[in-house]
Symmetry: C2
Subunit: 353 residues, 2 copies
């Protein structure tokens, strides 16, 4: 029996650990420490259960409309999907269809090369500079498309809208995708560029700033033509993806803007406080405008810090990769969680002196 000969074999991605224990301090997957908007609870209670027997609206019209209105766009400028991973994978498939390599940073979100391989898209990575900044000239070479997160992950480094405009303007023949998963924590969105450039696609998510990682909602914004192509590809092979509860709860999360802004402000405040504490403890880090800080200690290796924190039931993220193996990516939690983290780090740093 040789059926195994024809199987696609891959190295599975290992996501950040999802410990089940409630007593763990979980700062490893950039989730929001605050619950979703209060209205979400009421909606779940009143959910018309009988509708679950019916397929969801394939267009997620209500959610699309709510997002379009919120961002001052037309409904045909918004595409929603099952988390931004789904949206980005679909965008790779739709827009990166050239024989030339697409470009993205060498240190960046770990799924870009995975999707490129999956869809047989050639790619080339561009090294970040010594301060973990993107170098604009790298993105002016011949290419089949460009993608980068802004702020970048896992560095947290934000590039100004002028940088984005420079790249988009220099590449009129390809689509430039800006992955703004972390834009709501102090960065400035490049959305205003949509009215000037046809080749720009902006992707955002409900998983971070909208406290809904558990609901899997992501979305892309661009001009009508761009979004139309994306929808055609999506509908050509799967009509029904986002389920009814996500469609309904997503609308509610967009509506409650005051709550959204208050949570983001709290996270920003905690982050800025944490930066001071980290410096006091001997850490350095590129300045972050995300809901995490990417920090390295002056003398203790990243792997050691990671393990020591884990033994104290505090989970952060660490990669055994060139250039970044001494860094920890620390999600900004509640003030109480960060107090506990600072205490633990103080112990570890003291013990290693």
């Amino acid at each position: 029996m040789n059926w195994e000969n024809n199987i696609r074999r891959v190295v599975p991605y290992i996501p950040g650990e999802q410990p089940r224990d409630k007593d763990v301090i979980k700062l490893n997957t950039n989730e929001n420490p605050y619950p979703p908007a209060p209205g979400v609870e009421k909606l779940l209670k009143d959910f018309e259960k009988a509708t679950l027997r019916l397929y969801p609206d394939p267009d997620s019209e209500e959610l699309t409309k709510a997002l379009a209105e919120y961002y001052g766009l037309g409904p045909s400028q918004v595409f929603v999907g099952v988390g931004s991973d789904d949206v980005l994978a679909m965008a790779f498939l739709t827009f990166f269809n050239s024989d030339k390599p697409i470009l993205f940073p060498d240190i960046t979100y770990s799924f870009y090369d995975v999707w490129a391989d999956l869809y047989r898209i050639p790619y080339k990575t561009c090294p970040l500079d010594e301060r973990f900044k993107l170098r604009v000239e790298d993105y002016k070479q011949d290419n089949g498309g460009i993608i980068f997160p802004n702020p970048n992950a896992p560095t947290g480094v934000f590039e100004a809208v002028e940088f984005v405009e420079d790249v988009v303007k220099a590449n009129p023949d390809v689509v430039v995708i800006v992955d703004e998963a972390y834009i709501d924590f102090g960065g400035k969105s490049c959305l205003p560029l949509l009215s000037k450039y046809e080749n720009l696609l902006v992707v955002q998510t409900f998983s971070k700033s909208r406290s809904m990682a558990g609901m899997r909602i992501g979305f892309a914004m661009g001009n009508e033509k761009l979004i139309g192509y994306l929808k055609n590809v999506k509908f050509s092979f799967n009509s029904y993806t986002m389920n009814r509860t996500s469609q309904v709860l997503g609308v509610e999360a967009v509506k409650d803007d005051a709550y959204f802004k208050a949570c983001n402000a709290k996270i920003i405040e905690t982050r800025e406080w944490m930066k001071v504490k980290l410096q006091e403890l001997g850490f350095t880090f590129p300045d972050s405008l995300a809901n995490f800080i990417f920090a390295a200690h002056e003398s203790i290796p990243g792997k050691v810090l990671f393990e020591e924190l884990k033994s104290r039931r505090i989970f952060v993220r660490h990669w055994d990769k060139p250039r970044i193996s001494d860094y920890l990516r620390i999600t900004i939690g509640t003030k109480e969680q960060m107090d506990a983290l600072v205490e633990a780090l103080r112990e570890i740093v003291t013990a290693h002196r």
Copy 2:
């Protein structure tokens, strides 16, 4: 600006219409006319909203366990996804990786050729016989994999487990996928074959018999090795797909077996009654073991019937395709809905005499 040159252009799939009016009788997408299990309502009411800020369990462990237990399998023999479309697409990508063409019927579920095209899998369709049955000798030629629904869609025709075994046995070098979306309406699942054959994958869904099309839950069952390959491919490019509400509600639907069986029995009873009525009205149809009947009238063209029913606010499914353009695919609804359909058909048939 030439960015449009590199875009993937496709013909978008047109799903069955999803009319929003509540007064419509919707018999066009094979949804279940009964609501999900009563326990689902309670779960939604009591849902721990704060957990929505966290990513879902990537393995959907609770749901996987519930399904494994229900079907008498080990948890490592079950893979869950966002509807069976998601599961099937992933199975195509994982298992149909040969240069030889995969085989499926010429009249069948309309996404098989779409996924084959998407993943550049060569394929060959095998014509159904004049009674819309699969011909076993067609599936004994050299191939890179086999897939068919059982019962087949849109015909509703069921092939005996012996037929499935014959095909699986004759093809030890490839994976055979049996898409049992409609198996709970009187057909006999080929699941018992899993203990005898390594190369069989059985796919089922919550969208039909479990009244949860709106939640997007599908699953595959096979031996550990087969399921392991499928998981590796899935996790290699998207860790978090099924959201938290689907994971929780899905378990509840599996638990309430009495409700599940009672709903299916009602649908079967209504279908058998409907067969008699259709015959009285001059329709012919292959015998169906699904939650729909694929019927053609002795003198009125399918398109005419479709339009006439639509003008009476009754939606069924019709395809303008060779061999089946005179057929309507009629979902089995409640007895009341079918009464209204019979009444409407009687009017139309009388007017066309």
